[in-house]
């Protein structure tokens, strides 16, 4: 470890003394800008395709279909920025929802059933954290294991039937606040809160630092393990809440609730410019990407495209998004 490493870290003197980049330049190379432009383009394109898109309430209603996943994706963004990943969040949603529905079906009071569901979500987050942080196994493999495990447990609980939830609990998406469906409001509020946490608090700052260079963070006295534990637990909890919200929207729960949802959540983060290797990304990006996905999938539905084609498009989008963000970050690295 002699000359080369030190040479690699020392860099162009020209840059050191160069004038600061103009603001427009910095803005332009931000991946969220790309997401925003895509969103606008998508909206324009979709409105030409169908006048439905000029109706805001139509878009809001469409958003409730993926609001739960989008909520979990916001927390997932923090997890990815910290240098970990969690592919089990969708399975967590299904299992928490099944536990909740099964509980109240067995006669547990509604409120208690909700608490049990949320507790189960926390426990799932704790399992992921234990395996990834305490046992130091790569979270990407661990959460594939827990993804299968959680989904399997949901199947054990629910079997092939769908468990009804009580009438009184159905319809969270019908509740309107100032004309906006409640799930959308929750999504927006959570986005604002997490955006503030990430951008303006020392914990948020440390999430970036851990994701950029965990060893340097350790040396600077930052307790990376505690922060990551917190993030996994938060994601477990929020996923459970999202799962229970989905139960309320659908009126019943099956083990295959949001099956394959991990793909869409990762996709929202990637499309929003979160760097898969950690250290970069914003809540704003994921926020915009969630809307972009709604516009894309609703647009495809309106255009009468097969759901299968949507699957194809999602896959392509994921790959393109990750190539694009990697490219942008590689450009700004040096």
């Amino acid at each position: 470890m002699t000359d080369v490493t030190s040479d690699m870290t020392s860099t162009p003197k020209s840059r050191e003394l160069a004038p600061a980049r103009p603001t427009w330049h910095i803005l332009l190379v931000r991946p969220e800008t790309m997401t925003l432009l895509l969103l606008v383009a998508g909206l324009v394109g979709a409105s030409i395709l169908s006048p439905f898109f000029l109706d805001v309430s139509y878009i809001l209603r469409s958003f409730t279909l993926t609001a739960e996943m989008s909520i979990a994706a916001l927390v997932l963004t923090l997890v990815i920025i910290s240098g970990e990943i969690d592919l089990s969040a969708a399975a967590n949603m299904a299992l928490s929802a099944c536990i909740f529905a099964w509980g109240q079906d067995a006669g547990v009071p509604l409120l208690l059933a909700i608490l049990i569901g949320l507790g189960a979500g926390l426990a799932m987050g704790a399992l992921n954290a234990f395996m990834s942080i305490r046992m130091q196994l790569p979270s990407i493999i661990v959460t594939i294991g827990t993804l299968i495990f959680f989904r399997g447990l949901a199947q054990v609980i629910a079997g092939d039937r769908s468990i009804r939830v009580p009438e009184s609990f159905i319809g969270i998406n019908q509740i309107m606040l100032f004309g906006v469906p409640l799930p959308v409001v929750i999504f927006v509020v959570l986005a604002v809160a997490l955006g503030f946490l990430l951008a303006s608090t020392s914990v948020g700052r440390q999430i970036y630092q851990i994701g950029t260079n965990q060893n340097a963070a350790l040396h600077a006295g930052i307790n990376a393990k505690r922060i990551k534990w917190g993030l996994f637990l938060l994601l477990g909890f929020v996923s459970a809440a999202a799962g229970i919200m989905a139960a309320s929207r659908l009126g019943s729960v099956r083990y295959d609730l949001v099956l394959g949802g991990e793909l869409q959540m990762v996709l929202m983060a990637m499309l929003g410019g979160t760097y898969i290797f950690g250290g970069r990304g914003t809540i704003l990006g994921t926020f915009l990407a969630a809307w972009l996905l709604v516009v894309v999938s609703t647009g495809m539905t309106v255009a009468n495209l097969l759901p299968a084609i949507q699957l194809t498009v999602l896959g392509i989008l994921l790959i393109v998004a990750i190539i694009a963000t990697n490219f942008i970050y590689a450009r700004t690295q040096r």
């Binding site: 470890m1 002699t2 000359d3 080369v4 490493t5 030190s6 040479d7 690699m8 870290t9 020392s10 860099t11 162009p12 003197k13 020209s14 840059r15 050191e16 003394l17 160069a18 004038p19 600061a20 980049r21 303006s200 608090t201 020392s202 914990v203 700052r205 440390q206 970036y208 630092q209 950029t212 260079n213 060893n215 340097a216 963070a217 350790l218 040396h219 600077a220 006295g221 930052i222 307790n223 250290g279 970069r280 970050y329 700004t332 690295q333 040096r334």
Partner: protein
């Protein structure tokens, strides 16, 4: 030594991220000679070796072999041209057997051809026997000692039947006997008409083995001489390029109370029974060869990888330091050796790098007060005269010296009583080095205690009030400023059997 030229390098230059680490190197390597490359850390020897071996591509310049221009575009191409490189740190495939490590990547037969296991084992065994290392060739590499890994690496180069063998500091982990065997083989290879490039820091080895010596300094080829025609002093002068002017501290040290004490610190396999005291206002040097355990002791004290036994006392009070945040709370600070790995947050702004260790200062309530952070960062930049375009600039864009200043500034913000500096001037321009020396002196004068780990003896000799020397995980000498010389430090630093060391001490 017919003087027939094997390799002609002409105008070889190499840039890394805009910094020129090799400039216009011309060098001829003869058939059947052992050619030494000498130079300080960062002089460009290893980079040149890697260009010959196809690991790096030159930015400019060309290579010739036997009078014909060649392009060594990859390690595979180097192999085809008969060039083998023994890396400074052994490179191995830990899950594969010794025999496979010796032949891996060789281009005989296509990808889908059979692996001739019997032949491979036989060949590996033969080459290891030549080196006098009777290893079981079916053992996996994982679990071999560093010395044995190095021997396997050498055996690989031998087995490759190359015309040019480059050895980048091959002797560092070896015992004297192993070195003697290696030299015997090198001489035999020379007789067979092969060319060997030998990179080393050890002048006596170079003198014993080599025919010619080439000196690099700051990326340039300074001189080439037949080894008999040049004296050691001259070689050193050429390497350093300046008389070893002593840096002088502005004031004599005023020592205060003992602030840090280590007692019987041990961590299995790394260091054993390490103890010392450090006073306010003192600069305590920690010398030793690479791998002597100096960095491990520093990491233990700072809680990165705590000692498994022993005591640490701060201000006379025994403290438990399980992680760096404990150490920071006790007024300790640590500037690590490997800046890229353990110091900087490369892609994050300079500002965030500066304030990383003081969240409570910039965010007393948990919410960051930007104006306050900006103010703190500005003052640091001024105090240490850090050169940058903007506080928002990613820190990787700064030069090594300025990055290091940012890390130092980060720690000064914690107002530490004890600063542990691990190779603080590595990879830093000479001009900036003296700035660091001034800063270190000023910090001691202000009553801070400093533990300075350095491989540069002149640096230790001019800065430190006292120098501890470590070898193989133990402290082998404590030398006061007045009596410290490069010689007595090196004597204590070179590993040898314990008995022999006691003889020297006696």
């Amino acid at each position: 030594m017919g003087g027939k030229v094997l390799i002609e390098a002409r105008g070889i230059s190499k840039q890394f991220g805009g910094v020129e680490v090799l400039s216009d190197v011309d060098l001829d390597l003869n058939v059947g000679e052992i050619h030494a490359l000498l130079g300080e850390n960062g002089a460009g020897k290893s980079t040149f070796a890697k260009i010959l071996a196809g690991v790096h591509q030159p930015t400019r310049g060309q290579l010739g072999m036997n009078g014909q221009t060649i392009r060594v575009t990859s390690p595979i191409a180097a192999q085809k041209h008969g060039i083998a490189l023994i890396h400074q740190e052994p490179i191995s495939f830990p899950d594969l057997s010794v025999a496979e490590n010796i032949v891996m990547g060789r281009r005989d037969g296509g990808l889908f051809s059979r692996v001739p296991w019997a032949k491979i084992r036989e060949e590996a065994r033969r080459n290891l026997d030549l080196l006098g290392v009777p290893l079981d060739v079916d053992l996996p590499m994982r679990g071999l000692s560093i010395a044995n890994q190095q021997m396997v690496e050498i055996a690989r180069a031998l087995a490759s039947d190359s015309r040019l063998i480059i050895m980048d500091e091959p002797t560092a982990p070896l015992t004297p006997n192993e070195v003697a065997t290696l030299f015997g083989i090198a001489r035999r290879l020379r007789q067979e008409g092969r060319t060997i490039v030998f990179i080393s820091h050890r002048l006596e080895e170079v003198r014993e083995l080599c025919d010619r010596v080439t000196i690099f300094r700051d990326g340039a080829h300074i001189a080439t001489h037949a080894i008999d025609e040049v004296a050691d002093d001259e070689i050193i002068r050429l390497m350093i390029g300046r008389s070893v002017g002593k840096y002088r501290r502005k004031h004599e040290a005023v020592l205060g109370d003992v602030i840090l004490e280590a007692r019987n610190l041990s961590r299995a396999g790394l260091f054993e029974d390490v103890g010392f005291t450090l006073r306010r206002g003192e600069i305590l040097g920690l010398a030793g060869l690479v791998g002597a355990g100096r960095t491990d002791v520093a990491r233990a004290i700072f809680g990165v990888a705590p000692a498994t036994s022993g005591e640490i006392l701060v201000n006379g009070e025994a403290v438990s330091i399980a992680q760096p945040s404990d150490a920071i709370a006790r007024g300790l600070a640590f500037v690590p050796e490997d800046r890229a790995d353990a110091g900087i947050f490369g892609t994050l702004p300079v500002e965030h790098n500066l304030t990383a260790a003081v969240p409570a200062k910039i965010a007393p309530s948990g919410v960051i007060q930007s104006s306050r952070e900006r103010q703190i960062a500005r003052r640091s930049v001024e105090d240490l005269s850090i050169r940058l375009a903007s506080l928002k600039q990613p820190i990787v864009e700064l030069s090594g010296g300025n990055q290091q200043k940012v890390i130092l500034a980060r720690w000064l913000l914690t107002e530490p009583d004890v600063l542990i500096l691990d190779e603080p001037t590595r990879g830093i321009d000479i001009g900036v080095k003296s700035e660091f020396y001034d800063m270190i002196g000023d910090l001691a004068e202000a009553g801070r205690a400093i533990l300075l780990i350095s491989s540069e003896l002149p640096e230790l000799l001019s800065l430190c009030d006292r120098i501890l020397v470590m070898s193989e995980g133990e402290i082998t000498a404590e030398i006061p400023r007045e009596s410290a010389t490069q010689e007595n430090i090196m004597q204590a630093a070179v590993p040898r059997s314990k008995a022999a060391r006691h003889e020297v001490a006696a």
